[in-house]
Amino acid sequence: HPEPVLQVRIINFNFETVQVTWSPRRYSGTNLTFVYNSDEASRPCCNYIVHESHTAGCLLEARKDEILCFSLGNGTDILFQKCEWISAYLKPSSPEDLSFRWHEDAVTVTCSDLPYKRLVYEIQYKSIFDTEWQSKEGETCNVTMQGLDSEKCYFFRARVKTLESSYGSDTYPSDWSKVTHQQRGELRGEACYTAVHGPAACLLGRVEW
C-alpha cells in the first residue's frame, strides 16, 4: 500500500459520539473540510476540532450501529474517502457503580450492562501480596471470583472489551473503572496498605514424572 496522504483515526465513543481526527502528512497548514453522508445526503462537519488554528478533526453524533461514509478535501480535490462501520472503532464506556456480593471464599461483582451485545466484561483483582492483577471475564457484568481469602484485603477494577469476532480488531478497551478496596464486603479505603510487609516467597518441592 502507498503511504496514505492523510493519517485518519476514528473513535466511536460508546455509540454516542464519533470522533474522526486527521493529521495531514503533505497538507499541513491547510484547512481540510470534512463531508459525510447522513440519510442519503452529504453534510459538512458542523463540529470541527481545531488544532493550531487548522481543522484537525470532526465530532459527530452517533445514532446507531451504522456505516459512516466520509471524505476529506482541500476545497479543490478530495484527498481521502472512506466508508466504515462505526462499530469497528468502538470504545465502550467504562463500568460504573460496581457492586460486590461476598459468599464464603467468593465474591460476585456486578454492574449495569451496556445496551449493546458481544462485549467482554473484565474484572481484575489482586491482594496486597500479589504482584500482578488476576483477570476474570464474563459476557455480562456479573462475574464471580473464587478462592479469595477472607483475611486479606483486595483491590478490584473493571473494564469492557469487545468480542473480536463481532467488532474486529481495531476497537479500544474501555478505560478502567476506579479501583475499589474490599475485604469480605467492607470497604477498606486506605486500610489495605497498612498491612503491607514484604511477601516472602519460595518455590517448593519437586515434580513427580
Binding site: H1, D65, E66, I67, C69, Q81, K82, C83, E84, W85, S87, A88, Y116, K117, R118, L163, S165, S166, Y167, G168, S169, D170
Partner: protein, 129 residues
C-alpha cells in the same frame, strides 16, 4: 431463499466458533478496515442473504470463494440451520484443487471477504441472545 426461519442463535455460535477462524485465516493478517466497507445489512435475515450472495455467487474479479473452507462451513451451517435451504453442491475434490491452484489470493477476493467479515460481525452483534 428467505432466511427468516433460520435458527440465528445456532448460526451465530457456529460463526463465532469455527467460521470466523477460517475467515481470519483467509485474510492472513489483512484487516477489513484496509478496505472500503459500504455493504449494510439491516437485520439477521438480510445479513444472511447478503452473506449467501457474496460467498456463493462469483463476482467479476473473484470467482473462487465458494471453494474456500469458510464457504464450505457457511454452506454446512446454513444447510443445518435454515429449513429448506438447499445449499451449494460443492464438488469436494474440485474444491481442493481450486484452493491449491489459487496460490495468490487476489485483492479483489480479499475485498469481498472483508465485506463478508463485516456482514458476519454485524449479524453476530444484532442476533437476539
Amino acid at each position: 431463499y428467505n432466511f427468516t426461519d433460520c435458527d440465528f442463535e445456532k448460526i451465530r455460535k457456529k460463526y463465532q466458533e469455527v467460521i470466523y477462524q477460517a475467515l481470519n485465516k483467509y485474510m492472513n493478517g489483512v484487516k477489513t478496515t484496509e478496505f472500503n466497507n459500504y455493504i449494510y445489512c439491516e437485520d439477521p435475515p438480510d445479513c444472511l442473504a447478503k452473506i449467501d450472495l457474496i460467498t456463493f455467487y462469483p463476482t467479476h474479479g473473484c470467482t473462487t470463494l465458494a471453494k474456500e473452507i469458510f464457504a464450505i462451513r457457511t454452506n454446512a451451517t446454513l444447510t443445518l440451520q435454515c429449513p429448506g435451504y438447499s445449499g451449494t453442491q460443492i464438488n469436494n475434490t474440485q474444491a481442493k484443487k481450486k484452493r491449491k491452484k489459487r496460490q495468490v489470493t487476489t485483492n479483489k477476493c480479499r475485498e469481498q471477504v472483508s465485506h463478508l467479515m463485516e456482514l458476519w460481525r454485524r449479524f453476530s452483534r444484532i442476533s437476539k441472545q
